[in-house]
Symmetry: C2
Subunit: 341 residues, 2 copies
């Protein structure tokens, strides 16, 4: 195992301890439930609070986006495991300001069950209204959009919600615009290796050297087929073909692009792949509003990447670009990316 950990059973607690120590100006662990990461720079205004979460092993997702004007709290599960219901519930109590909360997470059965229990407890015990938007961006995971899994599309969808809350929208409006953002968000990935589980020291699944699987999910959910590793351009061509067909994004549409490294893929390769995404979109007359390339939603040491497109309208675009400040996502008021290119 090529990991740097201590006891494999302690990785989440130790990671959290390190995370809040390194980012202590932004976040703290909740005093009552140490699986809830809470913003220390939360707005003093009464606002809808944004709560994100899911299993560990996808860092900087989810906790990296807790800060100012993005997520207000993250609920943390064990590796690839949904957070416990009491942590989901506690996150609401920790941040609610009287305007209700929005839960946001990728669509996985365990997460749905436990966050739903948290929302029920908040309503029953405290009368706090909690709504939910499931992120369902992985185009290859199901035919029906609402049954799809959430992958790196989490990041832009969360961002839209955080900005909507920061603008003072009420809970129904935050939910509506976030649902629209999710409906416009499409991702597909490729894996060249499995991630390694710290407890067993083993890969989650076997993948021979020189093999890859397009369409594979971030926990190893099956993709199209296991084939020899192809060139970056061929891989991106295939991914974009699926995304464009499914999304119906076409000439004249404007998009946000995220090329997301899964943890073990060099930045160099991410940009070689981005280059091809950019070429294809330009060839097709699709307008690129903004692009991000990097490790935003990982699967520990998995080698691979995903491509996400968000089909923009003016409202989503403004919310995606709204200023925020978290350890892993910063948009300054005078940020240079707003300059005309």
């Amino acid at each position: 195992m090529k990991r740097l950990v201590n006891d494999g059973y302690d990785v989440v607690e130790e990671m959290l301890e390190g995370y809040v120590a390194a980012n202590s100006s932004y976040v703290k662990l909740d005093e009552e439930n140490p699986r809830v990461v809470v913003s220390k720079v939360i707005s003093k205004e009464e606002r809808v609070r944004i709560i994100v979460g899911g299993g560990s092993g996808h860092e900087p997702l989810f906790l990296g986006y807790v800060g100012a004007d993005f997520a207000d709290a993250a609920v943390v599960g064990n590796i690839n495991t949904s957070p416990a219901p009491d942590a989901c519930y506690r996150s609401v109590k920790a941040v609610d300001s009287g305007k209700g909360c929005l839960y946001l997470y990728g669509n996985y059965a365990g997460d749905v069950m436990n966050f739903d229990m948290g929302a029920e407890m908040a309503m029953e015990e405290d009368g706090i209204r909690v709504e939910t938007v499931l992120v369902t961006d992985d185009v290859y995971s199901a035919k029906d959009k609402k049954n799809r899994r959430g992958v790196a599309g989490d990041v832009p969808v969360f961002k839209v919600a955080g900005s909507a809350a920061a603008r003072g929208y009420d809970l129904d409006t935050v939910k509506t615009v976030t649902e629209k953002a999710n409906n416009n968000t499409y991702s597909m990935g490729v894996a060249l290796s499995s991630s390694t589980l710290p407890v067993t020291g083993k890969a989650i699944f076997e993948m021979a050297d020189g093999e890859m699987e397009i369409g594979m999910g971030i926990h190893g959910e099956p993709g199209i087929e296991r084939i020899k590793i192809e060139s970056a351009d061929k891989v991106i061509d295939e991914i974009l073909t699926h995304i464009l067909k499914d999304s119906k994004i076409t000439s004249g549409d404007e998009v946000y692009v995220l090329v997301n490294g899964l943890g073990g893929l060099p930045v160099m390769d991410q940009y070689i792949c981005y280059r091809r995404v950019h070429q294809i979109l330009e060839e097709k007359g699709i307008i690129i509003h903004r692009s991000e390339v990097g490790n935003y939603a990982t699967s520990m040491d998995m080698v691979g990447l995903s491509v996400t497109l968000v089909n923009l309208d003016e409202e989503i675009k403004e919310l995606l670009d709204y200023p925020c400040d978290t350890p892993y996502y910063k948009i300054a008021k005078d940020s240079k990316f707003r300059f005309k290119k």
Copy 2:
């Protein structure tokens, strides 16, 4: 090979093409020399210009720090290879505003030779004064500080230079404060694997599964010894013992900390390691001003990390925290990390 590339000989050009496309609001390739990445948001003031560079394969170093109020240009070599002298020269012509330029790069023989030639050409051909500060932070690479290699300490040392130039200091003053920052910067790394060369499809050096080498350089330069992978805490204990002994950083001193992933190490492990760094520094009464954790200076897909400490005085601290805006380094004027913790 678990890489996503096209022809191995094209990786640098394709990476650059993707990089400037994705970050086109910040940077462009120089029209005359496409191995020079130039800021599009360069200050309109006449200022000392900061030029960084070195071999490719360390992304986001060097080009990721070109933008506003940090580096003004980066000169790009092939993988693990210094940039050509004409590219070094051209970078000066591309950005000089009449106040001279400072070259900043890690201390490697090829880089020194080629950047020095670039500086001579700038003086002889154009009368532009170019000074140099070599970054020499790798404590294990040589006994004498001035003979040491530059590793992730590049990032804070570059930052100090960029801030000093942004404040309008003259070339001698920028150089002096940058030298001071370098003299106060100490790093040491550990590698659990080699990086993979795209042209050969092979590792640069062999390292068996389950092995590691503390003190190894980012191109595979030899470390202390090849041993079985130890726990994160033991690895950090050894690294910090070397750094603290060499730097003489002690109780009451104030430091900036960078835990830098080398490309293939999960964020989770980086924070588990940061946790131990934080514990040790707190135990010793060393004051942590600010910490950063992430992939800042990588070696493609190498699994490993380095720890960097910068011993701070008020001047270096202010310059490290000075606002800037680049694709991979952003400090907003109202950044939350400035809040009292």
